[in-house]
C-alpha cells in the first residue's frame, strides 16, 4: 500500500488529494483513513468488491457527504467543507451509479441546465434562445455523446444506455477539471461499452478522471493507475498489472467471490 504524505508545497501539484479521509455511518466504517492523490490529467480507476466504500468515497469527493475526519484538497485548496454546488463550480463533475437525469425534461433541456449550472445568472428569467452559448454547447454535447438526433425526446423515455450517455454529457457540460464516473458501464450492452470507452478515451487529456468500475476491460483501458479498496480501506495501488499480481488483492477478490 502506498500512502503519500504530501507537504503543502507538493499538494499544489495534485489535482485531487485526500488525506486520512474517513466516513462512518453510526458504527459502520464506510470509508476508513483513505489517502489518495491524483496528478492533473491522471486517469485512475477504483475497484473493489461490493461494499468496499467506493461510492461513499465518490460522495465525499463530490460533496454529497461530508467526511467524519480527514481533508480533501482540489488543486491545493481545501474543499472538505464545501457544498456540492460550489464544488462543481470549481470544476468537479460526476455521474451516478444509476443514471440521474430529469425525466420530464427533454435531452436538450437536461444538457442546457447542466451547461447553465456553472455559469452566472442561473436564475435568469430570460427565455433561452437557440443561439445562446449554453444552447449551442448543449447541442454540441448531445452530438458528442451520441444523442444528437434525440434532443427533443424526454429524458425519461430514453433507454438505459442512452440515459448514461446523457448523464455523461451533463457531467461534461461544466468543462470539468475532475470527472468522477461511478460505474459508467453498468447495465450497458457490449456495443455500448465500446462506445463509452471510445468516448472516455477521446476526452481532453488535461481532464483528470477518477472512475469506479466493475468492468475491468473498460477500467483498465481508460485508467493507467488502479486503486483497490476493501472494507473502506485502500489495500493496493499501482498499474493494472501490479494490482492483478498483488496477493492481498487476489485474496480479497477470491474471498469475495467464493466466500
Amino acid at each position: 500500500m502506498v500512502t503519500v504524505q504530501a507537504t503543502p508545497a507538493q499538494a499544489i501539484g495534485h489535482a485531487l488529494e485526500l488525506q486520512g479521509v474517513s466516513r462512518r455511518f453510526g458504527g459502520l466504517r464506510a470509508v476508513e483513513d483513505v489517502s489518495l492523490s491524483l496528478a492533473p490529467g491522471e486517469r485512475r480507476a477504483i475497484i473493489g468488491p461490493n461494499g468496499a466504500g467506493k461510492t461513499t468515497l465518490f460522495n465525499l469527493i463530490a460533496g454529497d457527504l461530508r467526511p467524519t475526519s480527514g481533508t480533501i484538497r482540489f488543486y491545493g485548496s481545501d474543499i472538505t467543507r464545501l457544498p456540492p454546488h460550489e464544488r462543481i463550480r470549481l470544476g468537479i463533475a460526476r455521474t451516478y451509479q444509476t443514471p440521474l437525469v430529469f425525466p420530464r425534461l427533454s435531452v436538450l433541456e437536461n444538457l442546457y441546465l447542466a451547461a447553465r449550472g456553472v455559469r452566472p445568472w442561473r436564475m435568469s428569467l430570460r427565455r433561452p434562445r437557440a443561439n445562446d452559448a449554453e444552447m449551442v454547447k448543449a447541442r454540441q454535447l448531445a452530438e458528442q455523446v451520441g444523442l444528437g438526433h434525440a434532443i427533443h425526446a424526454l429524458a425519461g423515455a430514453l433507454a438505459h444506455g442512452q440515459q448514461r450517455q446523457l448523464e455523461l454529457g451533463m457531467a461534461l457540460a461544466s468543462n470539468p477539471r475532475l470527472l468522477l464516473l461511478d460505474e459508467p458501464a453498468a447495465g450497458l450492452s457490449p456495443a455500448e461499452r465500446e462506445l463509452l470507452t471510445g468516448l472516455l478515451l477521446g476526452l481532453d487529456a488535461a481532464m483528470t478522471i477518477l472512475l469506479v468500475e466493475h468492468d475491468m476491460d473498460v477500467a483498465f483501458r481508460v485508467a493507467r493507475q488502479v486503486t483497490v479498496m476493501h472494507e473502506g480501506r485502500v489495500i493496493a495501488q499501482g498499474t493494472p498489472g501490479e494490482v492483478s499480481a498483488d496477493e492481498v488483492v487476489q485474496q480479497v477478490y477470491l474471498g469475495a467471490r467464493h466466500g
Binding site: 440521474l100 442546457y112 449550472g117 442561473r122 438526433h149
Partner: protein
C-alpha cells in the same frame, strides 16, 4: 404539427374572445358570482399548482399569503386611511414578504414535512389574526374595505371587476407559462425531479426553492387583493384551515401540473359550492365526492380530461418525432456495431 398549432391558436383566440366578452352575453349571476371569484381564486390555485406541479412543493400556506395581501390592503386603507394605491403596494409587499419568510423556514424540508410546515405557518397566522385586535381586528377582522375608484368607477362594478380579474388572471397565466421555459423555470422542474442531481450541476437548490416560493406568494397576493375588493371585508375565516385546503382541492381538481387546470379547478369548485349549497347543506360532501371522482378517474384533473383529445394528437406527433429520432439513432448504433 403546424395544423395542430394553428388549431391551438384558433381555439385560444376563441376562448379568450368568449371570456373577454362574457359580461355582454353572460348572465349577471355568472359574471359576478361565479366567474369573477373563480378567476381570483384561480390565481391562488395557480400559485399552488406552480409550486406543487412544477416545483414539487405542496404548500398549504397559499391562502394565508392571499389573505395577508387582503389584510395589508385593509389595514392601510381602512385603519390608516391611506389611498388605494398605497394599499395595493403595501398589500403586495406584506404578502410577498410573508411568503419569503415562510419560505425561509419551509424550503429545506420536502414532501409531507413541507406540507405540514406550511400548514403550521398558516395556522400561526390564523391564530394571530383571530386574537390580535389592534392590527388584525380580531375575530371580526376588518370591515368596510373599499375597492379602488378609478375615474368615477368603483372597480367592483360587476363587468369592470370581471374584466379586471380576467386581465390579472391572464397575465399570471401567461407569466407562469413563460417562466416555466426560462432557465429559472427549467431548474425549478429539475428541483422537482431530483434536487440532489441539480445541486451536483452547480445550482443552489434551497435558493431556487425560496425564489419560487416568494414568487408564488407574489402571485397569490394579486388574487388576495381582488378577493378583498370582492368581499369588501376580511376576517380570519378567509385564512382558516378549510380555506387553506380548499385551494389545494381546486388545484387538484384542475390538475396539479397544469397552468390552465388551476382556473378550471377553481371554476368547478365555485360552481359546485354555489349550486350544491342551494339544494343541500352538505355541499362539502359534494365537493369531497367530486374530488374523489377526479382523483380516481382522472389524476391529471379536469385539464387532463379536457386535454385528452389534444394530448393524444400531440403525443402521437411527438412520439412519431421521437421514434424517428430514436430509430435513426438505433440504426446508427447498429451500423456502428456491424463496423466492429
Amino acid at each position: 404539427m403546424s395544423a395542430l398549432a394553428s388549431t391551438r391558436t384558433v381555439l385560444t383566440l376563441l376562448v379568450v374572445g368568449l371570456l373577454a366578452t362574457f359580461p355582454l352575453w353572460g348572465s349577471a349571476y355568472f359574471v359576478g358570482r361565479v366567474f369573477s371569484p373563480a378567476l381570483f381564486l384561480g390565481i391562488a390555485a395557480l400559485s399552488l399548482a406552480f409550486l406543487a406541479g412544477y416545483g414539487g412543493m405542496i404548500s398549504l400556506a397559499q391562502m394565508t399569503v392571499f389573505g395577508l395581501a387582503g389584510y395589508g390592503y385593509g389595514v392601510l386603507t381602512v385603519t390608516h386611511g391611506q389611498p388605494w394605491w398605497v394599499g395595493v403596494i403595501g398589500g403586495l409587499a406584506v404578502a410577498t414578504l410573508a411568503a419569503f419568510l415562510f419560505g425561509l423556514v419551509a424550503v429545506r424540508t420536502r414532501g409531507i414535512y413541507f406540507l405540514m410546515i406550511t400548514l403550521a405557518l398558516g395556522m400561526v397566522v390564523y391564530a394571530l389574526a383571530n386574537q390580535n385586535r389592534s392590527v388584525f381586528g380580531g375575530h371580526t377582522g376588518i370591515l368596510g374595505i373599499r375597492a379602488p375608484e378609478v375615474s368615477g368607477h368603483l372597480l367592483t362594478e360587476r363587468a369592470l371587476f370581471y374584466e379586471l380579474c380576467l386581465a390579472v388572471a391572464l397575465a399570471s397565466y401567461l407569466g407562469v407559462r413563460y417562466l416555466l421555459r426560462t432557465p429559472f423555470g427549467l431548474a425549478l422542474q429539475a428541483v422537482r425531479d431530483n434536487p440532489r442531481r441539480l445541486a451536483a450541476l452547480g445550482y443552489h437548490v434551497a435558493l431556487h426553492r425560496l425564489a419560487a416560493f416568494t414568487l408564488a406568494g407574489f402571485l397569490a397576493a394579486w388574487g388576495g387583493l381582488l378577493g378583498v375588493w370582492y368581499n369588501g371585508a376580511i376576517s380570519p375565516t378567509t385564512i382558516d384551515v378549510t380555506r387553506l385546503i380548499n385551494v389545494l382541492v381546486m388545484a387538484v381538481i384542475g390538475g396539479l401540473a397544469s397552468v390552465e387546470g388551476a382556473f378550471l379547478g377553481a371554476l368547478a369548485f365555485v360552481l359546485v359550492t354555489n349550486f350544491a349549497s342551494s339544494f343541500t347543506e352538505r355541499f362539502n360532501t359534494v365537493i369531497g365526492l367530486t374530488f374523489l371522482a377526479i382523483v380516481l378517474f382522472s389524476p391529471e384533473g379536469l385539464s387532463g380530461l379536457l386535454a385528452r383529445p389534444v394530448e393524444l394528437l400531440r403525443r402521437q406527433s411527438r412520439a412519431r418525432r421521437a421514434r424517428d429520432e430514436l430509430d435513426e439513432l438505433g440504426v446508427q448504433q447498429a451500423v456502428g456495431r456491424q463496423d466492429e
